[in-house]
């Protein structure tokens, strides 16, 4: 490397190559994961007892055998299973996830329609609980052994101990049934004809309860984790050094201590993402939120294989992407590996 380019690298503080490295490593690990998921999902779904043709014709009452065979052929289910799998793979490669017979629409369309409500709900509830958890955890450390800290510790303990569905039901009872402040379920007020900001507010009102139900638990978990990590650092040597420099307590907390507490938090978030889908299924069902979770539940009940497979694959890809982001963030906070 010549002098000028090494100079340029130094000015950029060498973060780009490392971030790139992290991304490449992650994606390399992700390829076998996704391949496994493709195989396992395909065969697992076919192990679910029940016949999709039966489920489908249940709507058309009194279907005869000829009609059933016709449907079976239409669905491609009369082929040998490995042929079905081969067809499936080549179609996935072309982003063709087949036809949802239950929804009478291409699977991709069905999923994309349901994807955004879920992404909105997740980003909002997880985002808010992350920010809130960090803020509350740092505040608890700032005011350790005072009433502020004790209140935060107590509240997060209570929320942590309560099951999510119970929080959800209590919120519905209080805010929807008793106070009549918020809608019980749905995505928007049907037929209200609202647009723009009014529509966004309407969706926000509908999202408040499911987001709280999902988020409060994570808020409690994140608060407890950040608080514990920060407390461990309060009397550590390098924090004492930071104070000895005359830094303000705020700088000590946010610049010196928080990054150390964020690393375990990010690890936890990465681990949790995998199990998030199951939580989303419950919440979306309880609040009739038209997202992927409820779609998953319906598709499983209706043996809508194509939809189910696509959702599982998509959630795998989403989890992989989210983990990539988590890894990049961790690498950005812990830059010790930067210097080559």
């Amino acid at each position: 490397m010549d002098a000028s380019s090494s100079q340029a690298v130094r000015v950029r503080r060498k973060t780009t190559p490392w971030a790139f490295q992290v991304a490449v490593n992650r994606l390399k690990q992700a390829i076998p994961t996704i391949a496994c998921v493709l195989v396992v999902n395909f065969f697992l779904v076919r192990l679910i007892p029940g016949d999709p043709v039966d489920a489908f014709v249940a709507k058309a009452q009194g279907a005869d055998q000829a009609f059933k065979d016709h449907i079976r052929h239409e669905m491609g289910l009369d082929e040998p299973i490995w042929v079905q799998f081969g067809i499936y793979l080549s179609k996935v490669a072309h982003l063709d996830f087949g036809w949802s017979f239950q929804n009478s629409a291409p699977v991709l369309d069905v999923i994309l329609l349901r994807l955004w409500p879920t992404v909105l709900l997740l980003v909002f509830s997880i985002g808010v609980s992350l920010l809130g958890g960090v803020f509350l955890g740092v505040t608890a450390a700032r005011y350790s052994q005072t009433w502020k800290d004790r209140t935060i510790a107590f509240m997060s303990m209570v929320l942590y101990a309560m099951p999510a569905f119970w929080i959800g039901l209590s919120l519905i009872v209080v805010f929807s049934v008793k106070l009549r402040l918020l809608p019980v379920g749905g995505f928007d007020t049907v037929g209200s004809g609202k647009t723009g900001i009014a529509y966004a507010l309407d969706v926000g009102r509908h999202m408040t309860l499911p987001a709280l139900t999902l988020g409060l638990f994570y808020l409690a978990v994140y608060t407890r984790l950040v608080r514990a990590s920060m407390f461990e650092l309060l009397d550590s040597d390098f924090v004492r050094t930071a104070r000895a420099k005359g830094l303000s307590e705020r700088t000590v907390l946010w610049r010196h201590m928080l990054p150390h507490a964020l690393l375990p938090l990010l690890t936890l978030v990465g681990v949790q993402l995998g199990s998030l889908l199951s939580g989303v299924i419950v919440i979306e069902t309880v609040f009739s939120w038209p997202g992927l979770g409820r779609l998953t539940f319906q598709a499983a009940l209706q043996r809508d294989y194509n939809v189910l497979l696509a959702i599982l694959l998509m959630s795998t890809v989403l989890v992989v992407c989210a983990n990539l982001i988590v890894d990049l963030l961790s690498a950005w906070i812990d830059r010790r590996m930067d210097v080559n």
Binding site: R240, K245, G246, S248, E249, H256, V339
Partner: protein
């Protein structure tokens, strides 16, 4: 002229065992340009004294500090937090005992030096960076231009202590408190660090409070020496006097425990030749705290707590027999 005057400083911790008097009515002053050594066994209250001056003790309700720490006209004990932050790292700096853990592992060395400079001086990023490189050079770290951008884990203990010293000196403080700065280091590195501290102290014309439990290092570095035992100062004098004619039996014990060639067959690890251990600080005896371990102790030592006596001019000892012994 005194840079810092400590008057009747006491520190108490409320613990599960009871109230611990870690520092008990300690008074001393540090004069401009001098090095004052504080020696004493582990647990004698040296670090707590230093941390009390810096106001870096745990801030819980269980810590109680009383007395005065006068920096010029100001009493640091009662100073508002924001005011105290302007003193720390600016007028008084501190170097700690544990170089391996005293730097933030997630921050570059340069950043850690610079943030102190930028906190106290209104300078641009370019200036503070140049100053950080200069400081690394001053504490004799080779290749400072490259080192500023490195993380602490790439440095050895001795190098990290140099970085700590660079950080402490960044704003040219009037007083540097060095709390056993070499205890965690190899013997050869110890000597280098002490030498570096002594040189920098002279060139920057600051005062130094050098805490150590090793009497052998005070002879070359400190003008005056305080000896602490169980939270109290038991002897204070010019270093030469203390080494030549120790007035307190405890000081004599410490001097006896200096490592020296030993008869074959004796354990090499045992440095202390004073039998026994420091009494628990939450249950100090009624008389002299050292009486249990003192060969000279008398009935009066077990019943009456000795007061400070002037042995000769500028020399104190807290012992019932100090005057008689020293002359």
């Amino acid at each position: 002229m005194a840079v810092l005057k400590v008057e009747d400083l006491s520190v108490q911790f409320r613990t599960a065992q009871g109230v611990v008097r870690a520092v008990d009515r300690v008074s001393f002053e540090i004069r401009a340009g001098e090095t004052l050594a504080v020696v004493g066994e582990s647990g004698s209250g040296k670090s707590v004294t230093a941390l009390a001056i810096m106001r870096l003790l745990p801030r819980h309700g269980s810590t109680r500090v009383s007395g005065r720490v006068m920096l010029g006209e100001r009493d640091l004990v009662g100073l508002a937090d924001a005011e105290m932050q302007r003193v720390r790292g600016n007028q008084i700096s501190m170097v700690f005992q544990e170089p391996m853990t005293s730097l933030n592992p997630l921050m570059r060395i340069g950043e850690q030096i610079e943030e102190g400079i930028r906190r106290h001086q209104n300078v641009s990023a370019a200036v503070s960076r140049r100053r950080a490189v200069e400081l690394l050079d001053q504490v004799r770290i080779a290749d400072p231009h490259r080192r500023v951008d490195e993380f602490p884990h790439t440095l050895s203990g001795g190098m990290r202590q140099r970085v700590m010293i660079a950080m402490a000196l960044a704003c040219e403080p009037k007083l540097l408190i060095a709390d056993e700065p070499t205890t965690a280091l190899d013997v050869t590195v110890q000597a280098q660090i002490l030498e570096l501290l002594a040189t920098l102290r002279k060139t920057m014309n600051m005062s130094m409070l050098l805490i150590t439990h090793d009497l052998s290092i005070v002879a070359d570095t400190a003008e005056r020496t305080l000896v602490m035992y169980a939270g109290r100062i038991v002897e204070a004098a010019a270093t030469g006097e203390i080494l030549a004619r120790p007035a307190h039996p405890y000081t004599r014990g410490l001097l006896g425990s200096l490592p020296k060639p030993r008869a074959a067959g004796r354990s090499r690890d045992r440095l202390t030749e004073i039998p026994g251990a420091v009494p628990p600080l939450h249950a100090l005896p009624a008389g002299c705290s050292f009486a249990e371990r003192c060969q000279r102790a008398d009935a009066v030592c077990r019943t009456d707590r000795p007061e400070a006596r002037t042995v000769t001019h500028d020399r104190l000892a807290v012992c019932h027999f100090a005057v008689a012994e020293a002359i």
